[in-house]
Assembly symmetry: C2
Homo-oligomer: 435 residues x 2
């Protein structure tokens, strides 16, 4: 609704993105003034479409939106994503239109996402509105910021991992984060739910839903407005009255939601939780060819409550027989100069050690075959093997692409890998307490 | 010295990297057993080379290194980078060879970097040993970890910004971080010195040199081993006795060295300090099309001591005439949906406001022309304009590449941009105090 032939208009871009994402269903551009848009027959109105329509994407001017929703209802379209802006976010005039829209919703059966949002994405069926996405994965995003969503989508797309579903809430006049938590909690393609919120629309409902869902699926929350200046900005952005940050923190902890501090941490933690198993305890063995990187990782491990137990004497003895004398037979285990196979030897000797709950492999410098090594342990272990790769130039790019194509997440620095591993520990400890 | 025809050997890779980096001088592979390596005439020994040799790159087995240094001295080669490993890092046997090497150095005029290092880089003349680098820039790196150096080199190379010089210290038997601070302090191509250290070899000398150099050039330090587990790992990595972290922190502050916490922060801060002017005060105007990103940036600004003053009434009045009513006329200034030119209007109206010391522009979503806007202010202002770009897909990639080609650093998230801006403030406040 509001499809356009003008490439500068959102009503054009959304249609183009749906096509570029390979949407598997049928698309019906609605525009009374043209016959064809982007090679598709344009319909003068919803009523002219003879197929059953599952979802209306609404991009008409705000003032026309309530009428369009009525049309949807008349045509039996029960779901709409309203991308149009011009509602309460622009002040008194828009507030009035938004009230009209609320009234319309009360007398219709249409359920609405938005208005003033940047759409929804389901790349598994090629339904991507704001950016064309070709990859699909297991991270689902629910957000009060279109850009935070787009950032995560772009990072996941560029890494070849993709996302599962994304919903930008906009003014959340109807469907809110709590509805989506419940929905995504039951969605088999969603392994982790990543939230960006400035406020919650209904605290009590949210806490109940989050408590339920987080028992079976991890929920991450990035909160905008944790400081005074940020909170002031949140009021103007989404009219969010941001409460005391410590209260938010305590509430999230209570309902099992893991709080992160930055956009990148939201993505990294989502990656780790989607693709890695959980450690059954805090003990990590760091294996590396880069002593410096391992130290930086050890520092962050310590911050996150992870521990680096020493090698057992028998393991150390075996490894001293199998590996060059210049290795540092400790934890971190530093192979110094190395081949990928030497990484394999170290992991192999420790993989059944009950005192090691997770492995952090830090590949530094160009090292071919890193992907093979990591891959070879996956069928035989429940322990997470988390990978950082840095300083490897073209070889790193190639190995990272291979690992991502196999669902092995790779982190770009030792600190980010250790941080993500810390989040896995938080999640596993939460589940153990709940048990 | 120790050049090889075997692609698996470092003695081959270094030669290949020097060629691939476009080294502007002459290369003389030395290997007594072959006539040609990588299309270059190989020399049986240093004495056979008739040209004057400026630098020896030593990659022979450790046991042969003292003799090679004697040969360098005999041939009038006064500088050597010893990449060979097998010295004190491997234990007692290597310790003995290292002592031999120290004795050799005492009786020769050769100055040495290493041993057990991953070489040096000067991409301005194509002298790059560990990775081939084609870009050159203004960040210089001095490091106890080859991989931390490589990571920064790869990031700078991939962004097209490049580095100025890089030295990996290895066992720092002769030249240490203090020598390099003084050298880089006087190097006209070095705008910022980025250090990764686990310890300093001589605290008193270091503090003196850092105090001198930081008066004219910013120095950044990432310290490995700030926690107990990290410190333990540092002992095995570089035999570094890591002192109390708070003492290190206080010492760095006293001599004007800016401490950072992660590898990425070291790179981000280096980028900002190399390419941006310093703010004359803490007041930032955030201009954005992404309200959520601006809130996240505002939170980090607040952490970093940056302030977000309100718009003046006259500026707000002017902007209300020039821009759509749905903008949020505040700080952050949120254009919501926007064109690049609307960013220009907001910056233009505030550029001469003495209460605004810096601009943080956050481009979210695909926005063409972002680079033009930022570029247009550079000739006319001393105020830093720091850019974050995220969620923009292909358009973002293109605009980022243009900005980097023009020396405008772009940060991948609002938090990282705000953090980097905070570092600029720290630097400017230090210089003001020193004044």
């Amino acid at each position: 609704m509001g499809a356009s032939r003008d490439p500068a208009k959102v009503g054009h871009q959304v249609l183009r993105n749906l096509k570029a994402s390979g949407f598997t269903g049928k698309l019906f551009p609605v525009n009374p003034r043209v016959r064809e848009i982007l090679g598709l027959i344009a319909y003068p109105s919803l009523e002219e479409i003879s197929d059953r329509v599952d979802l209306a994407v609404v991009i008409v001017p705000a003032i026309a939106v309530p009428r369009v929703i009525d049309q949807c209802d008349g045509a039996g379209v029960s779901a709409a994503v309203i991308m149009s802006g011009g509602f309460r976010e622009i002040g008194a005039e828009g507030e009035k239109i938004e009230q009209d829209l609320r009234d319309t919703l009360k007398r219709t059966k249409v359920r609405v996402i938005g208005p003033n949002c940047t759409g929804v994405d389901n790349p598994h069926i090629g339904l991507c509105m704001w950016l064309p996405l070709r990859k699909h994965g297991y991270i689902s995003v629910v957000t009060q910021s279109g850009t935070v969503a787009s950032a995560i989508k772009c990072w996941a797309e560029n890494e070849g991992l993709g996302i599962a579903k994304c919903v930008t809430l906009g003014n959340r006049i109807d469907i809110d984060e709590t509805d989506l938590l419940r929905y995504l909690g039951d969605d088999p393609l969603t392994r982790v739910i990543a939230l960006y919120l400035e406020s919650v629309s209904d605290g009590t409902r949210f806490l109940k839903a989050a408590s339920d869902v987080s028992k079976r699926k991890p929920i991450l929350a990035l909160k905008g407005g944790r400081t005074q200046p940020g909170a002031r900005a949140a009021v103007t952005h989404t009219r969010s009255i941001v409460g005391d940050d410590q209260i938010f923190q305590a509430a999230m902890k209570q309902c099992g939601v893991i709080r992160v501090q930055t956009t990148e941490e939201l993505y990294d933690s989502s990656k780790a939780l989607s693709y890695l198993t959980l450690p059954s305890g805090p003990n990590v063995l760091i294996v590396t060819s880069s002593g410096g990187s391992a130290i930086l990782a050890a520092d962050v491990c310590s911050d996150m409550g992870l521990e680096l137990p020493p090698l057992t004497r028998s393991t150390e003895k075996t490894l001293r027989q199998k590996l060059p004398g210049y290795c540092i037979f400790s934890n971190p285990f530093d192979l110094t100069t190395t081949t990928a196979d030497q990484f394999r030897v170290v992991v192999e000797e420790n993989i059944h050690d009950p005192m090691i709950h997770a492995f952090l492999l830090i590949f530094g410098d160009p090292l071919l075959g890193a992907s093979e090594v990591v891959d070879s342990f996956r069928p035989s272990t429940e322990k997470p093997i988390i990978v950082a790769y840095l300083g490897g130039g073209d070889v790193e790019d190639k190995e990272r692409a291979i690992m991502h194509s196999r669902g092995i997440p790779v982190f770009p620095s030792p600190e980010r890998a250790a941080q993500a591993l810390g989040v896995l520990l938080v999640r596993s400890e939460y589940l153990r307490e709940e048990d």
